[in-house]
Symmetry: C2
Subunit: 362 residues, 2 copies
């Protein structure tokens, strides 16, 4: 029933609670969650019909897709539940407030043990974990009322095969991402993203009740910008150049660098809109840019940037290059970031978070 | 919403997949699962009304409580689902076969990561994990159709306080279980079991739909037998005596042995029946003794017995006494088992598995 391929992004996040773990280094993502709160409140207040919820035995089912190990997922879920409770109260339906069942989803290799240990003790919902790729169907038909996903859609289900194929015009030699790569490479990534979004939307359309909401927060770039101007693109470019430097002095194998690409893609509002319209099962309720107050704090500081990148992507790098080169790699990276003028110019901080609110139509 | 105490039994099972893991050493429990298959088939065929299932949006929810890390839980769940599918087919309702959502429950400290990695790839159900004690409510009201629990109810939510209280007549000095203990000790364990069963049944009555089934498989002893005649009681008694031997030669602290008791209790059919009747929310559909074909194989072999005990209880012992004494302890135990005539006499194999099938009444 579920596609059991090992998804490339699955080992990206560092599990556990150590100094390099995602749980300890997801400040930027926390900023997204905080800015998302008002969007969630508005979504529930103006776009979620209580009749949609009441049809289902006084039980509301919420899912967070790509939850990682917390704590951000718990804040998002709490915001959703409080918004729904508030809606009942504001309509004088205090006695009809439903029970909540929350599904925390991430890939099978996510550290669910850590997630479960940090579940809020006084939560007002029943909690369940759902292991598996959100590019496949994860829940029975029409069983969810509200699906949320924050900072997860940018992960591809796999690295596009062409970019690691020496014989292909899209071979991405000497780079680990499509920043500043030939257009064939960029197109290979874009094509994979389109396929993944198609699978994602087909699955969600099946799982949501009619009238149910899908709230997506995803990093993106403005329609009129190239990826080389973006913050994350430049970060990954720098990290790739550190790996190539290390390959030149024999610290890592160059063939391993060539064979490695980050399975991620930053969409544009226009591109994402077209993919959603092509699916046809959702009506657009909202599409806007989120204001993340924390990004300056996290991104302007080279060692914070290094820690944040290591927490988010370290697992994937370790798998390819081994744990023993990680300190060296991120030391080199910190130095390059500190010496790069790109990170000091506010006008270059052009990676944004896109908020899209969709409703499952009839 | 959920009681967040750290339950004593939670660290009993050895996680992971190593040579001392529960996953590799649950042969006896596997025998229970195999013998249970025909009971499950009969339960669904004769006691589960399709109308009960069809009321819920063509989605059937099944829970396995105390699932551990597998693989036995997957076999049980498969048996339940095939039995339900077969029931639809046998009634000519092939096109109405529902989708299945299966909840795997165990304590927060269970190794869910291992469980998820071993989920059957071609399963015909959606899978979710639910961390938390089954002595509390784990699911929304009337949200489950079939609850299953195998070899888990014997675990108490905690060691009764009296048995580790030096000032109490129920102080269980020099023993780690109630086998051959004064009646005050036995009563303290029985009282804790009664409280735990009360919480368990209250929670299940709330979670099951009217007409939903609760299938319990639990180790028990015959009504007319004392615990000192039982297999597991004698095993734990021997293990306790090994610990006391080690205390005498200074390998473990005697105070630590006194402070340690296994949080488990083996009920009798009569006792369990009375507790279920007192709850009042269930009708008795079946109550019978299971025939476990594998028990001879597992229990007659001293080293198998030692491995099996270590897999089931090793985690709990490690927590109290440290990992470093485990090899010594189980070596001593294997020798004592080999030298004990108790384990050679077939008539002493009197621990049995009780099958109880309950239906949630109106």
């Amino acid at each position: 029933m579920e596609d059991e391929r090992t998804y490339a992004y699955a080992n990206a996040m560092k599990g556990g609670e150590g100094p390099h773990s995602y749980a300890q280094n997801s400040n930027y993502q926390r900023g997204v969650v905080e800015a998302a709160k008002e969007k969630i409140i508005e979504a529930v207040a103006n776009h979620l019909d209580i009749k949609t919820l009441s049809a289902s035995l006084n039980q509301v089912c919420v899912a967070d897709l790509g939850c990682s190990t917390g704590p951000n997922t718990f804040i998002s879920v709490q915001n959703i539940i409080e918004a729904i409770q508030h809606k009942y109260i504001s309509k004088g339906l205090n006695t009809q407030i439903p029970e909540f069942l929350v599904f925390f989803n991430d890939h099978v290799s996510n550290d669910f043990n850590t997630l479960y240990k940090s579940l809020p003790p006084h939560r007002q919902y029943f909690a369940a974990g759902v292991p598996g790729s959100f590019h496949g169907v994860l829940f029975p038909k029409a069983s969810l009322h509200f699906i949320h996903s924050s900072y997860a859609l940018q992960w591809l289900s796999k690295v596009p095969l062409d970019v690691i194929d020496e014989g292909s015009p899209a071979w991405n030699k000497g780079r680990i991402f499509y920043t500043n790569a030939p257009k064939e490479v960029v197109e290979a990534f874009a094509t994979q993203f389109a396929k993944d979004m198609e699978s994602f939307l087909i699955a969600r359309a099946q799982e949501l009740v009619i009238g149910g909401l899908l709230a997506l927060f995803t990093p993106a770039i403005p329609d009129v910008m190239s990826n080389s101007d973006t913050f994350t693109g430049t970060e990954l470019d720098l990290l790739g150049s550190c790996l190539m430097d290390m390959a030149k002095v024999g610290l890592v194998s160059e063939a391993k660098v060539d064979a490695f690409n980050f399975p991620a893609y930053f969409t544009t509002p226009k591109e994402l809109k077209a993919l959603i319209e092509r699916n046809g099962h959702f009506s657009f309720e909202r599409m806007e840019i989120l204001n993340n107050q924390k990004k300056h704090f996290t991104l302007r500081n080279p060692s914070m940037s290094s820690l944040s990148l290591r927490a988010t992507l370290g697992g994937l790098l370790e798998k390819q290059f081994g744990n023993e080169i990680m300190d060296e790699l991120f030391n080199r990276y910190s130095k390059k970031v500190a010496g790069s003028s790109f990170f000091l110019k506010p006008e270059t901080e052009k990676t944004m978070v896109l908020f899209v609110l969709l409703k499952r139509n009839n």
